[in-house]
């Protein structure tokens, strides 16, 4: 055995330096965003979401066809088909914007209707999630912070709302609130916007505000319960901070990661519920299209025009899937427990 003396010489400073692994400390956001960017699936979903949003919000304003516009003679065109009138104008040299997905049985261009439908679905999802986030996080924070009797009572209420089969109540509420809301819209001019937005949508929002915030409240509450034992909370209280200030500035701020993730994951389930309700016929009212109602009306012509059913179905699935995957990616990126 040959022992090399030089292997046993004390290490020089440079060699010691190579063993020290120190990373610069990055902030919470930069760290999370960095992890998010490395997640390929999440990034692809983000791209899909952005594309869908552009299609839904921006493109319809520039599109030559309106979603309500019923053009006589254009009924039931196949994808990329032209009606007799349009064919005549093409032959005479004019340019007619193609119907990428054809038209429906009233002559309305299907692609722009699908884009409007996506816009409605996205709006419902985002606004409903915002409502849920606000109600749920405040409720959960208050319950978790104050603890004791107040917490018990608030959680009992949450449990009861949780047990109620929500879809049943939604359907019931929508079916019944339609009429008083319509009356309100017709009699009181201040509420005239109800008619344009559609009574079904308002009912959906009301029901979401009443029933769906409980999941978020539970999560925020458990997070707050563990956070409120931290020293900075005790310090703040010792310095005389009011309860509201502590909740706002210290506790909820540290929950932002959880809030963002839960809200992002709430959007697809809101969209799911809305399309489900529109499919049964209880969502937005005609002529405003929703992806669910487009699918429902296409069900009748399923043998002759399958594209009318496949297009909105694929669109809904795409939206829900990409939001789910992005939300999962966010959760993986910002969950401190998974930090390696």
């Amino acid at each position: 055995m040959q022992l090399d003396v030089s292997n046993f010489v004390p290490a020089s400073d440079e060699e010691k330096q190579s063993l020290v692994t120190m990373r610069d400390s990055i902030g919470f956001w930069k760290d999370g965003l960095h992890r998010l960017r490395k997640n390929n699936v999440a990034m692809i979903s983000l791209v899909v979401i952005v594309i869908v949003m552009v299609l839904a919000f921006i493109v319809p304003s520039f599109y030559p066809y309106d979603y309500k516009e019923q053009i006589r003679g254009n009924e039931n065109l196949a994808p990329m088909g032209y009606s007799v009138k349009e064919q005549a104008s093409i032959d005479s040299g004019d340019f007619v914007f193609p119907h990428f997905l054809g038209t429906d049985n009233l002559g309305r261009d299907l692609s722009v209707r699908i884009m409007m439908g996506s816009k409605i679905s996205l709006l419902v999802g985002i606004i409903a999630s915002a409502i849920i986030m606000m109600i749920g996080s405040i409720y959960g924070a208050v319950a978790g912070y104050f603890g004791g009797r107040a917490d018990q009572i608030m959680m009992r209420i949450v449990d009861m709302i949780y047990t109620v089969p929500d879809l049943l109540i939604i359907i019931l509420l929508i079916a019944t609130l339609k009429y008083p809301l319509k009356d309100l819209a017709n009699t009181n001019p201040a509420f005239a916007w109800i008619n344009t937005v559609g009574v079904g949508l308002i009912c959906i929002f009301i029901v979401f505000a009443l029933l769906y915030w409980v999941g978020m409240a539970r999560q925020i509450r458990s997070q707050i319960l563990s956070l409120k034992e931290q020293e900075y909370v005790t310090a703040a209280r010792a310095l005389g901070a009011s309860h509201a200030r502590i909740i706002r500035k210290h506790l909820l701020k540290n929950c932002i990661g959880l809030i963002i993730v839960t809200t992002t994951l709430q959007i697809p389930s809101a969209i799911f519920t809305e399309s489900f309700l529109s499919f049964i016929g209880l969502g937005v009212s005609a002529p405003m299209p929703s992806l669910g109602s487009l699918a429902a009306t296409a069900l009748g012509g399923i043998t002759s025009y399958p594209h009318r059913l496949l297009a909105p179905s694929i669109m809904i699935s795409l939206i829900i899937l990409s939001f789910n995957l992005f939300g999962d990616g966010l959760r993986d990126a910002f969950d401190p427990k998974l930090k390696n």
Binding site: V164, L177, I302, P306, L309, S313
Partner: protein
């Protein structure tokens, strides 16, 4: 334990009471009553029908009458389907939905649990990736999309399966798949993460060190512990199956309770809507209580509140 059961049952009944009250008063927000959907009958006819169905008494009295009758098992006659009582209709339609729903639950459990376990056992290999992909897909796609795609592929293009009704065993295939898709995907994900947790535990190492066969390791130790989160999911899954049936029954024209519920709302058949809502709500709430009790029995670590 008895205290816990009592509390759960108490809250279940309380929730049901709230649901019944809400439903009752909501139905009366609808103007026009159940008889004005047809051609407007004369005022005398209207009065006579109102008197017959007790719709002219003050609201509170109607409510009291309803509750009293309900406790005796009488949910009143159906206003739109003359000659049949609500109880008759429910008892003829519910078994249909129960069959389809029960099959879906069975399929979801029988497929989801093994798939999730395999994904966990062969973590990282292609089978895990494949199962992950399908399950992510499965929880995103709504049930009506799946139903319609199934109908297009299997009924219209391939002509293998019948589309409407429920007369032969073949008829059950597509509705059951449509309803079971989401729960299967969800359960396989849940099972996978739960199994991963369990497989990393020390007692699994002990079992392996003891020389137990992989079969015994899996079934006697891993599966029993990993299955607990699935038991908690049973409650929401049953609720989902019931509500999922609304859409699937419509698409496949299955004469079940979900289809009936939606029709009776559009027809403004008050007694039918009330009866169905109460029945479905009671079913879901009671099943949740049963599942909670089973969970406490199965996992002794949970502290009773």
């Amino acid at each position: 334990m008895g205290n816990y059961i009592f509390k759960r049952v108490f809250y279940a009944i309380l929730t049901l009471a709230v649901v019944i009250t809400i439903t009752f008063f909501l139905m009366y927000l609808i103007p026009g009553g159940p008889f004005l959907a047809e051609k407007a009958p004369s005022q005398a006819t209207l009065d006579a029908m109102n008197a017959k169905y007790g719709l002219d008494k003050p609201l509170i009295v109607q409510f009291k009458n309803y509750i009293v009758n309900m406790l005796q098992g009488d949910f009143g006659p159906s206003i739109k389907q003359r000659g049949r009582t609500v109880v008759q209709i429910i008892s003829s339609k519910f078994p249909v939905s129960a069959r389809v729903g029960g099959l879906s639950v069975a399929v979801a459990l029988l497929l989801g649990i093994p798939l999730g376990s395999f994904a966990a056992l062969y973590r990282g290999k292609w089978i895990d990736k494949a199962i992950n992909f399908i399950s992510t897909f499965g929880i995103a796609v709504p049930s009506f999309v799946i139903s319609t795609v199934l109908v297009i592929i299997f009924s219209i293009n391939l002509k293998w399966l019948p589309t409407f009704g429920l007369t032969s065993p073949l008829h059950y295939i597509m509705p059951v798949i449509a309803i079971a898709f989401y729960p299967t995907a969800y359960i396989s994900r849940l099972m996978r993460s739960s199994m991963l947790d369990v497989l990393g535990q020390d007692y699994m190492r002990t079992a392996r060190a003891k020389g137990l066969s992989p079969f015994k390791q899996l079934f006697k130790h891993a599966l029993r512990n990993a299955i607990l989160p699935i038991v908690t999911y049973l409650g929401p899954m049953i609720a989902y199956t019931l509500t999922g049936s609304f859409v699937v029954e419509r698409i496949f024209t299955i004469p079940g309770l979900g289809n009936e519920f939606i029709s009776s709302i559009t027809n403004r058949d008050y007694p039918m809507v009330m009866g169905t809502t109460i029945f479905l709500a009671a079913f879901i709430v009671l099943l949740n209580v049963v599942v909670d009790i089973v969970y406490k029995l199965v996992d002794p670590r949970i502290k009773y509140q």
